[in-house]
Symmetry: C2
Subunit: 461 residues, 2 copies
């Protein structure tokens, strides 16, 4: 392994040159004017993979093609890794806020040494090339990869992945044989601490409309005697949580594994700056369950959130009306163990049980996706921890993400595969913003960590 790492160190300059060539292609998937650039990027990466000894091809979709590449020379007994990335980038607007041409990559000084500045530097071209350079080192030193490797590089990730399901269905035979999916499109905890994202929250969306009188009423002539559906709506939604922040829907927390003291302690040691996190948006006080630490509130605990509410008069001044109906839109963020359909049912029962006479509730169910929790005994998790600990001198933080990552759900749904989320970005990388960057040290150590991971997976460490 040391020879492989030495090779990576020695080749850093040429690795960067290859990344810069990739970054110069403005493959903006959201803008039809850049379609030819997207196709050029797909061809460029396919040719790179072919040159590295992969069997690589474009896989056409109704949108932009995917790039599919395989190198299974390690043989049927070797672990089979499916690496996912994307060759497209976000638009670079507003251009005038960039210090350099976003498609003329620069290596400049930053607060933590050199940094690569360009659109796509970290999201996701830098992370993809970092992984490919790790493969290159294995191939250069050992003449082969220690694992069976399949790569899937999408061209529409920054545009909502409209053809991903189509691609996964079409390439099912090629992809589904993998042991797991490896996605490096995520961040480290901080510049010194690698991270594995071990949980994602799911979602159950629902709209609630309370119906009262059969038409809008004059609140002078009817007020006091007639039911007001806005009042019914706030009366019920005002009971959603108790004073400790706990959701009051019966059975809402069924099936959830509580955050363990060990987990809580590990997260506490991360030194999360909740004051800074909240301060950045004008808040100061954690508003969730009072018996949960801030990181658990956003990573590990489900929520009941009113995303929108409306009813009656909303214009200037006032109008003395009792409206016929009032509406709220809610989403529940779910964690592993909760069934989105059951959450819909339980919320509906919670509301129905609280309806006064004459009020009727109409429910419109929306998106329903379960939370995701990485199996703590997954073999790839041990290998990832081994590799990251050896590279960074400390174990990776097992972090959560309060939102969903749609590709993870897609891999689970279409291929039945779990996903290892371990990338080398940092929170200050300006992803999707002007002056996107990737610290050179992150690119470099990421490459080394990728190389170690492939070795650890093969060795079963």
């Amino acid at each position: 392994m040391q020879k492989i790492l030495d090779s990576i160190d020695a080749q850093l300059e040429t690795s960067l040159a290859r990344l810069f060539a990739f970054l110069r292609i403005p493959s903006i998937s959201a803008q039809p004017a850049h379609k030819a650039d997207c196709l050029q990027a797909a061809n460029w990466i396919r040719d790179e993979l072919t040159a590295l000894g992969f069997s690589a091809r474009l896989s056409e979709t109704t949108g932009l093609p995917g790039v599919v590449a395989t190198n299974h020379a390690a043989g049927p007994d070797a672990p089979h890794v499916l690496f996912y990335g994307h060759y497209d980038v976000q638009p670079a607007d507003p251009r005038n806020l960039w210090h350099f041409d976003p498609f003329d990559p620069q290596l400049v000084d930053g607060p933590r040494g050199k940094k690569i500045v360009a659109r796509g530097a970290v999201d996701d071209k830098g992370q993809v090339i970092s992984f490919l350079e790790a493969c290159r080192a294995h191939l250069a030193i050992n003449g082969g990869l220690p694992v069976r490797l399949t790569l899937l590089l999408e061209g529409e990730e920054e545009n909502g992945s409209p053809s991903l399901a189509e691609l996964l269905t079409k390439e099912h035979e090629t992809l589904a044989g993998a042991d797991f999916v490896y996605v490096a499109d995520t961040n480290m905890w901080d510049a010194a601490t690698p991270a594995i994202t071990a949980s994602l929250r799911g979602l159950a969306a629902i709209e609630l409309r309370i119906h009262g009188p059969n038409r809008d009423l004059h609140s002078g002539f009817f007020g006091g005697l007639a039911l007001n559906p806005i009042q019914v709506l706030v009366d019920i939604l005002g009971q959603l949580k108790d004073e400790t922040g706990r959701v009051q829907i019966p059975g809402f927390y069924d099936g959830i594994t509580p955050v363990s003291p060990g987990q809580e302690k590990a997260w506490a040691q991360l030194g999360f700056d909740s004051a800074g996190f909240l301060g950045g948006v004008g808040l100061a006080t954690p508003a969730g369950e009072v018996d949960q630490i801030p990181l658990a509130q956003i990573w590990a605990r489900p929520t009941a959130e009113i995303n929108g509410i409306y009813g009656g008069y909303q214009g200037d001044g006032s109008k003395t009306v009792i409206p016929a109906h009032a509406t709220a839109k809610l989403t529940f963020r779910l964690v592993a163990g909760q069934d989105p359909d059951k959450i819909h049912e339980k919320f509906e029962a919670f509301v129905t049980a609280r309806l006064p006479p004459d009020a009727r509730a109409e429910f419109t169910r929306g998106a329903a996706a379960p939370g995701y929790g990485l199996n703590p005994n997954a073999s790839f998790l041990r290998a990832a921890q081994t590799a990251l600990t050896e590279e960074f001198g400390k174990p990776a933080a097992l972090i959560g993400c309060g939102a969903s990552i749609p590709v993870v759900e897609a891999f689970k749904t279409h291929l039945g595969l779990d996903t290892l989320l371990a990338g080398f970005g940092l929170d200050d990388d300006c992803v999707h913003s002007p002056n996107e960057k990737f610290d050179l040290a992150c690119f470099h150590r990421g490459t080394r960590a990728h190389a170690r991971l492939l070795g650890a997976l093969a060795a079963g460490r």
Copy 2:
């Protein structure tokens, strides 16, 4: 008095002819195309008053003129009545729903005898002419009126009375000397039971905006940790009333005289059909204070009503947002004894005391008008009861009105005068709707009742 009543009976046909002439003038104040018609109606009624022996004139405003007329021949010791009415009418749209031309008045059969069908039949030309015919009978039999009488006929009542304040200010000297205002633009309790409207509810309007984070947040990344201002809004407004319907704002009911057992009994005897009233708008159950009878809920008790609410996402589907703010618009219907400004203050204190950390409340105060309660010892009330009891064989119901009548407030504010509200319309008169009508019996008995009232006022009965 009997001679006067006999004269009214004998002259009914010519009284109707005069009313029909007035009704043929399409004096629609809201439609600029009918401005000449409005002026024609003003001139017509001025000429009628002049012919009756009044000193009558138009009083110009920035809008349509008022008509001001006086007959003070009864001398300085006679009571001084200010009669208010209006010569304008509502638009007649939709015309295709009328059975006759709305400005070609008809006398046709109805369920309770003949009825006068035309736009303005009852609102307010019929009620105005009914009063004038009572004056005509007094003048014909006795050569004079038993009271000092001032008339103010407005031309913009159906268009929101934009120039009324101007008119009251300009004519202050002429109007302010009256003992009280007499408004006949209201209804009887039913076809057999006259009514005096003894109370009106006032209004305090306020907008409440709850501010949370300094921008809209992603409910995945922030949900659970960040304050949601919609939740704060519903939590607070969900505490507005307890399970008995009582408003929970401290001091809200201060200064209110409870409905007396005698009042409650009198209202109960009216046989109000609350099931029919609510059933007409798709409801079945009184939703106000459970210890109050339905009529008290709409006439005598104050309310806290949410007229509008909005915040966050309101479009199709869902959006995972925690919004920066959420807003509710409320009006409080007030009864006599409550101070609108104090209600604003108490609501603000109620909200402020319930704000969680990081939440900020912004209040925008709107309209503020006190409730109106007729002094039960007012001399004109006794005379009105005498007149109505003698005409209808039963005392007038002392009823309330859940809404405000702006002119009553204007007379109180600008002239310091109380108002006697006693008219002869019925609930099925289709006011503001196609096929507006005035029962001939109501017009006729109303004229007789007006004549009796003038006599009773003069006699101090």
